[in-house]
């Protein structure tokens, strides 16, 4: 057994935090991506403008700078907002930005911008006639989305979604810089204490590779799932 100088359990906890953070960020990113893709395709010029500025800004600024801005600036911004609400409406609100929330929100916002391009293309790839058929039988907008648009769109979105997830996973390492004890942070602390960088960094690197491999398998299964009905071979999902 590897002797990790007693850091084993903390590394394991760190890896769980990494996973938790990555999955929550993914959820937020998918929601933001769907929203801003819809905004980009909407008829409102204001919504389109907002969505385009959003992706433009995210593409131009490093992930880490956004994270620092949100983590250190977010609390001050929120305090100013709640002070204003207090002075205007006499309602007292406390919101604390901790590192975990800042991490999830930043990564979610960043990858939401990347997802919006993926989803925009996928939305456009769905034949309008199929949605119309749903509406023609009286389906509500939500039912049309849930039963027709979403499953058909996912077929086109999954490859891009998979790529984004792989990048997102590695991006979570940045939260160690704002003080969250993810597996990178634990490894860095252990390294500083024991002067044995390889002993800690290499298992963490392997951890990322392992999560990536498992995700790859999941995405393959998902692709098969959303490919149902399109071909017996299962290779036509990118047309």
């Amino acid at each position: 057994m590897l002797d990790l100088h007693g850091y084993g359990p903390r590394l394991l906890e760190g890896s769980l935090l990494t996973l938790e953070l990555a999955l929550l960020s993914l959820l937020l990113a998918v929601l933001l991506g769907l929203l801003s893709a819809s905004a980009k395709l909407s008829s409102s010029r204001i919504l389109r403008g907002i969505a385009h500025v959003y992706t433009l800004v995210i593409r131009g600024v490093p992930d880490l700078v956004l994270m620092l801005l949100l983590f250190y600036g977010g609390q001050i911004g929120i305090n100013m907002a709640t002070d204003w609400i207090y002075s205007e409406f006499d309602v007292d609100i406390f919101i604390n930005i901790n590192a975990f929330v800042a991490g999830v929100v930043t990564i979610g916002i960043i990858f939401g911008a990347y997802m919006s391009e993926t989803f925009r293309g996928a939305f456009l790839a769905v034949d309008e006639g199929l949605l119309e058929a749903g509406r023609a039988y009286g389906m509500r907008p939500w039912a049309v989305f849930r039963h027709i648009r979403f499953p058909l769109m996912m077929r086109h979105a999954l490859p891009g979604l998979g790529n984004n997830w792989m990048v997102l996973l590695k991006t979570t390492a940045l939260v160690s810089i704002i003080g969250l004890s993810d597996m990178v942070k634990v490894a860095a602390e252990a390294t500083k204490a024991t002067h044995e960088p390889f002993l800690f960094m290499i298992p963490v690197a392997l951890g990322y590779l392992l999560i990536a491999s498992v995700s790859e398998w999941c995405f393959m299964k998902l692709r098969q799932r959303f490919d149902i009905g399109f071909s017996s071979g299962g290779s036509s999902w990118n047309n």
């Binding site: 199929l130 058929a133 023609a136 039988y137 389906m139 039912a143 077929r155 149902i228 009905g229």
Partner: protein
């Protein structure tokens, strides 16, 4: 008092796209059991008229009355006409089923799932009941053994008969067909027309856009000839198809006879 025995009544419908008028005041009254065919040259507005009936297109002016229930409209801030109540529209759409030229079966669902989807998600019918009903309808259109096939695994004719079963699953009061056989290979047209003929014999109310003159003559009891968004001539098929009065209808029918 509104007459609730009339499944569908349309008065003075107007519609334009970006300022180009496409429908210029069309009226139609479908009594129970009527089979009305809409004929006319391509671009004369047949599809738009049909799509206005279940509000896939929003008419600019005119009245739409389904079983005595008039659809309420309001004008939004941009001057566009919108339904007053989308719930009413959804309710009414559920009573008028449409069959499309390109079938538009949902490719990620099996045939039986296609047929069950609207009853389950719109009418909130229990799944088992919807399946049972769907299987019966597939049997009617001759597709029992295809129930678990996906649309891509079926021929165009089978897909269109499946789409008819999907429309029937809603127990529609009026069925709208937009050129249901135009996308089919000639040898597959017969099966679909046969199913439609049976539906007509059953006493279903149908409005059919078609280029099949035999169907118009033999099956429908009323023919409307559209030209540039207006009804140029209408009447019983025996009259207007054999002795058209307007020159345009004569021209339209000429090459075929």
């Amino acid at each position: 008092m509104a007459d609730t025995s009339i499944p569908l009544e349309i008065n003075h419908l107007h519609k334009s796209f970006n300022g180009n008028p496409v429908l210029n005041g069309l009226s139609l009254k479908a009594q129970k059991g009527d089979v009305i065919t809409l004929i006319g040259a391509s671009g004369s507005g047949k599809s738009t008229f049909l799509r206005c009936m279940n509000l896939l297109e929003m008419p600019d002016q005119g009245e739409l009355i389904v079983h005595g229930e008039a659809i309420g409209f309001k004008v939004d801030r941009k001057g566009q006409r919108q339904p007053e109540d989308w719930k009413q529209v959804e309710r009414i759409r559920a009573r008028l089923s449409m069959v499309f030229q390109n079938f538009n079966l949902w490719p990620h669902m099996t045939l039986i799932e296609n047929v069950m989807a609207a009853p389950v998600h719109v009418l909130k019918m229990p799944k088992a009941q919807a399946r049972e009903k769907g299987m019966a309808l597939l049997k009617r259109v001759g597709l029992s053994e295809r129930a678990s096939y996906f649309p891509t695994q079926m021929s165009g004719g089978q897909q269109q008969r499946g789409a008819i079963a999907r429309a029937l699953a809603m127990d529609p009061e009026v069925m709208l067909f937009d050129e249901p056989t135009s996308a089919l290979d000639p040898e597959l047209v017969g099966d679909v027309l046969h199913v439609m003929h049976e539906l007509a014999d059953e006493g279903r109310t149908m409005i059919v856009v078609t280029h099949e003159m035999d169907f118009a003559r033999d099956v429908s009891n009323h023919v409307m000839f559209l030209h540039q968004g207006l009804i140029e001539e209408q009447g019983a098929p025996g009259d207007i198809l054999t002795s058209p009065r307007s020159e345009r209808l004569q021209q339209f029918l000429a090459p075929r006879y």
